[in-house]
Symmetry: C2
DNA sequence: TTGTATGCGTTATCAC
DNA sequence: GTGATAACGCATACAA
């Protein structure tokens, strides 16, 4: 055992006067090896506090048992949950997770993808950043023979496994609920329309209005209101109209919905009687505001598990038995105080 | 370029009729190489879509530029924030993050530590799981020559870098603020006393009372009230006393504080005039309750950044110039409506 | 400036 | 069963 360099199978071999190959076999369990020597090897490995060098092993075996994950923000509830779900399954399979965060910047996303390719991860799981319009870097992943799985915010043109929420349906359900509660002038806070998820939510909104014979007013649709501040600003604008809306669907996020609620409180507008509010994501705080906020639960942890399972299914069924496909998880509308005026 | 195996520096060398070493030098920028050939190498690397194999490089160089992080739960706000902070700094330095989650289980924590050692990460950052009483696996990390940095929940006996919140001081500040606002009978909702962080918060409470000449009443100290429900139950009990408190410090969490607020509202007790409420953690919702809740911000993202910076400081100052030490981050008291009766 | 040779630690293929 | 040997892809000390 060298003083500083860490103990290797060589050291064990030397001590036992056998060859490194024997040690390797004994430790990995591959190939023939006498039970007695195996036992001996195990013991000395333990005694010497030997730790297998995964780096060397990976190089030799041509696989890393590692999954790379790229999300816009780690510390956003939804993404943290998805990551937790992926970790859960990956851990069972003995896989590690390398996490990158794009900070919603395309440049950082591209760099992260390259880092992960260089690391030879076996799969890259990604939810694209908001300012990604070009997906060459993702095509590159596929070209390198690395599995690519997209979730939530997906580049639709890319032929990959995708796990998404049925945003259109969830949005439709939310609007239908509002209508059933007697709201007739429903405004929409929408997100960047270059992202499919926000287009889908808008479509659900439009479809629901049409199906229930309600008119679509362009004034009622506010773009890019996806932070608390922007949600608040949008609300001030909407409530300033002569013909102000009686409900606001913050399809972008619960934070946006929170902004709406704050403004309503400031203006002494009663929620839900005078104004209905519906958010999106089921953030923890929605349950405890006054009133609590109706929102959409995306089953984010399950989403992560689904992603991981797709990957393992694929590599276990060897070959590309499973074609590119899209798995849609049906979100659930959580009805709470902010929209319940017909009790 | 082999059909399936990925392009290597060999392929580039072959194409250019030079040696792999030249390619390696040209690409890494180490060692002498003619500008012309360097240019040529870069171009063909690009053309062939070459991706450096980090695994091989790591093995050769004996370093991985990787940090391992182990937290009880990824999808818990505080931890997600810390991870985001670490990522932020690590990314700038070209380091990757491997994330493990212990699920509060010692067994999983031990396994994760071993995985990370095997991966030859250069540093392991950990917040220990609640059921960890034995720290052999952590000592092992140190013995292997891997940096170990603990944060928030730390094994105090271990001689490592530690980053924690100054819970005692934050708690002291909170109580002092309450006293300054004229509250004289301050109750404490405390967390599990086997965790140091909760003991420290209690100590800050006691010290502040003493320093201001206020008596400590055992009746005013309620154990294990760290959910909304438990906070509510504790409040009902406290407010039922003949000599009821005029302020409650929910040192466990904002959720607990919320329970207090709800009960106060139910009982028509005015906050802050009749009852002061202070929480802990600065959860998003504390800002939007009525009244908004005074609380303690833990600077969790900064905590992550501090952790990462400690590591980089250490490796950049080469050698163990920086001895084991504990960095205490001073949390900030966020004063809001629930305690502001002297405006 | 370029080429040669060697090793990082492990595993797999062969022959014995 | 066991041992010798090559190879994974890259980086570097040394020679040319």
């Amino acid at each position: 055992m060298n003083s500083k360099k860490g103990v290797t199978i060589y050291d064990i071999a030397q001590q036992l006067k056998i060859t490194p190959s024997m040690v390797s076999r004994a430790l990995s369990g591959n190939g023939y090896v006498n039970d007695a020597t195996r036992q001996l090897v195990r013991e000395t490995a333990e005694a010497l506090n030997y730790k297998r060098n995964t780096v060397a092993s990976n190089l030799r075996m041509g696989q890393t048992k590692t999954i790379g994950v790229i999300v816009p923000r780690i510390n956003q509830n939804f993404f943290a949950n998805v990551i937790a779900g992926i970790e859960n399954i990956a851990y069972e399979k003995g896989y590690s997770l390398i996490i990158c965060q794009s900070d919603e910047q395309n440049e950082k996303e591209v760099k992260s993808v390259n880092t992960l390719i260089n690391q030879r991860v076996e799969c890259i799981v990604i939810s694209v950043s908001a300012d990604s319009y070009n997906y060459k870097h993702l095509q590159n992943v596929i070209d390198q023979g690395i599995q690519l799985i997209q979730f939530d915010r997906v580049a639709e043109d890319l032929d990959t496994l995708k796990v998404i929420n049925d945003n259109e349906q969830a949005s439709f359900d939310a609007i239908r609920h509002l209508i059933e509660q007697g709201y007739k002038k429903i405004a929409l806070l929408e997100g960047p329309q270059n992202l499919a998820i926000f287009r889908q939510r808008k479509n659900g909104y439009l479809r629901a209005l049409k199906q229930h014979g309600l008119p679509v007013k362009d004034d009622y649709i506010i773009e890019n209101a996806w932070t608390k501040e922007l949600g608040a600003a949008a609300t001030k604008k909407l409530l300033g109209f002569n013909d102000a809306p009686d409900a606001i669907f913050a399809s972008t996020s619960d934070f946006s919905a929170l902004g709406v609620l704050e403004v309503a409180n400031q203006l002494n507008i009663k929620v839900p009687s005078q104004l209905g509010i519906c958010g999106y994501s089921n953030e923890a705080f929605t349950e405890i505001t006054s009133p609590s906020i109706t929102t959409v639960d995306q089953y984010s942890v399950d989403m992560g598990k689904t992603v991981a399972n797709l990957f393992f299914d694929r590599i276990e069924e060897q070959a590309d038995a499973i074609a590119a496909k899209t798995v849609s998880i049906k979100p659930e509308l959580i009805i709470r105080g902010s929209t319940s005026r017909m009790v």
